[in-house]
Symmetry: C2
């Protein structure tokens, strides 16, 4: 298991060398975790120019060993910065400079201006370049162990949601239902929720990123929930919309069918070689044609992994094409202010058609349930 | 109520003018909230050079109106950036440039290098300077409404903790107790937890920032908890350590007395004019003299407010002196790996001696309780 991190670091090092800078400083926690097995708070990873033996994880304090931070690659050298609380990025730059590197690639989309300036001050001979999104791109295609973690995260999520659906919902607040869902995620083995659980009922239903309020579930409501488990750092997402009571209204059935159809179109567009914007369009144009184009979310879906929201983005202006083994969400929705709405969200892994097409991880039924 | 935000913006504008740059771009969410009443996700605040009427809150999407993000100052002009998902900081720089400003102060300890470069690209005529920690410093001294929110946050926290102490603890996992505490915070009116609740039992007790595990509470354990409520954005903190069972061991009583004495010394050092490092030393030297200097936390306490961890830092190298109406924590502790430990944490407001000295917000008893 620990070889996988050394291999990932090697691949990144090769990219850096090709780009002219053999040393790199990784500071974004999910990227540190991806390359080092774990990410103690504040830790940075220095990829040495020489090779794996010069790689170093620098931490501001002695790591707690909290499993939630991941399991550090034992082959990786670990340094605690000498002065409590000092910025380990500074120690990393000094280390790179001291080992003869003349250039250091840093994550300009993560380091603040202030930190960057400090690095230039302590290591003036070091040319700082931009790593760009190199690690984010490397993270996109998952290996089978990563997909296994996502599969387990999805099972946990399906279980938590399934249990909630068997319980009484009318009269309970969005907040309580959200807390209940999060408790069940942990009960079923999650490290924690993948993101703040969303429960939206009545006029709130279908709202993207609705924060649970004290509104109580009522008969006749749409109820939309969005939740996910974090399992060993890997995060998945499911979103479902239900109707409360015995008989959905016609407008509810029609809206649900529309969003279901759009979401299915998005799912079916997931193939290796498909453009990100084409997947987005497959779902978006159906909602647009039905007159709902105005209030739609900026993207139809996004990658998942060590972060709940990672590359790629399935959005109208996105460049790039899907590969096999890239996990993404497909989550279109329509929200009608004051009335409610529908959002349907799955996590799937892109697979070759010959391998059966996209692998659906979140298997809770998408049939419209009256609860 | 809405005047308070205009007044805060005015004070900041005056500081900026004095520093040579009449326009400022605030991006750190707590700072945006402090100055604008609310902080929709991704929003930035542009302080105009001309005066209050030119101030503008720029948002990447239409705000949801989620109360958890605060209540926006109605006098403040609100702009949603024209293209969905574009960086509102860019729009802000263009706006400042267009209104004739020649300099713009930005938060270099918040903006990434990449964002900063984009601002320079879109507004090349605009000289970008550093706001430094100006807003963080302005936030340190709280007004009576802010202190009232912290008082309520502390009451909620004391209530949640008090209820837990009346329940059965033996046999329950750290995780479940933490989730239970967080549920009770919300039940008693919190917007949510101020930070991830820590519950640490047996050998984990006294560990700083321990993440709750599946370890179950046992007779004879130390049990240390650390939690806080977020009430209207204002966050407080309490930490207490208990013994499980009827008879604490002698080593437990001795260690508890030591930490209690150190914490009391820290609290009693809180006076207007006292140096941050002197408050730290008051607690730290007692623990150090008893032989526990090695594993101590880097700071004895910190400010609280719209962030759980804000200026000032009560630490050995900290420069500066306390003012009245600055709320801080005092939270020394000792952790003995494999055995457990004690941490005692209060939130207090610095007050003049003539006003009764430091106002204790977290009033749960600090007597060693056997539960």
């Amino acid at each position: 298991m620990s070889e996988v991190f050394a291999v990932r670091r090697s691949r990144l090092r090769d990219r850096c060398v090709a780009a002219g800078s053999a040393a790199a400083l990784i500071s974004r926690p999910a990227n540190v975790r991806y390359l080092a097995g774990g990410a103690p708070p504040g830790a940075v990873l220095l990829l040495g120019p020489v090779g794996d033996s010069a790689d170093e994880l620098l931490c501001p304090t002695s790591p707690n060993g909290d499993p939630v931070d991941g399991r550090l690659d034992e082959q990786l050298r670990l340094t605690v910065v000498p002065v409590h609380g000092d910025d380990p990025a500074v120690a990393a730059a000094e280390s790179a400079s001291g080992s003869g590197a003349d250039a250091l690639a840093v994550e300009e989309n993560h380091l603040t201006v202030a930190r960057h300036r400090t690095l230039r001050t302590v290591a003036p001979g070091l040319r700082l370049t931009d790593l760009g999104g190199a690690v984010e791109q490397q993270r996109m295609v998952k290996d089978e162990d990563e997909i296994a973690c996502l599969r387990i995260a999805a099972e946990i999520t399906d279980q938590a949601l399934g249990e909630l659906l068997e319980s009484i919902l009318v009269g309970r607040t969005e907040r309580h239902l959200a807390l209940e869902l999060e408790r069940r995620l942990v009960d079923h083995g999650a490290d924690g929720p993948a993101f703040p659980t969303s429960v939206a009922t009545g006029p709130n239903a279908g709202r993207r990123r609705h924060r649970p309020s004290d509104r109580r579930v009522e008969e006749g409501d749409f109820l939309s929930v969005c939740l996910g488990a974090n399992y060993r750092g890997y995060r998945c997402e499911i979103g479902r919309t239900f109707v409360i009571g015995t008989t959905p209204a016609d407008w509810q059935i029609d809206l649900y069918d529309l969003v279901f159809t759009a979401q299915r179109a998005g799912r079916e567009a997931l193939l290796p070689g498909a453009g990100y914007r084409d997947v987005d369009r497959a779902a978006r144009h159906l909602l647009d044609s039905a007159g709902y184009g105005e209030g739609l979310a900026p993207l139809t879906g996004h990658g998942v992994g060590l972060e709940i929201d990672e590359d790629p983005q399935l959005a109208p202006a996105a460049m790039g094409k899907l590969d096999a083994c890239v996990p993404v969400t497909v989550e279109p929705g329509v929200h009608l202010p004051g009335r409610g709405g529908v959002r349907i969200d799955d996590t799937l892994v892109v697979r070759q058609e010959a391998d059966g097409g996209p692998e659906l991880l979140t298997i809770t039924t998408k049939e419209l349930l009256a609860l």
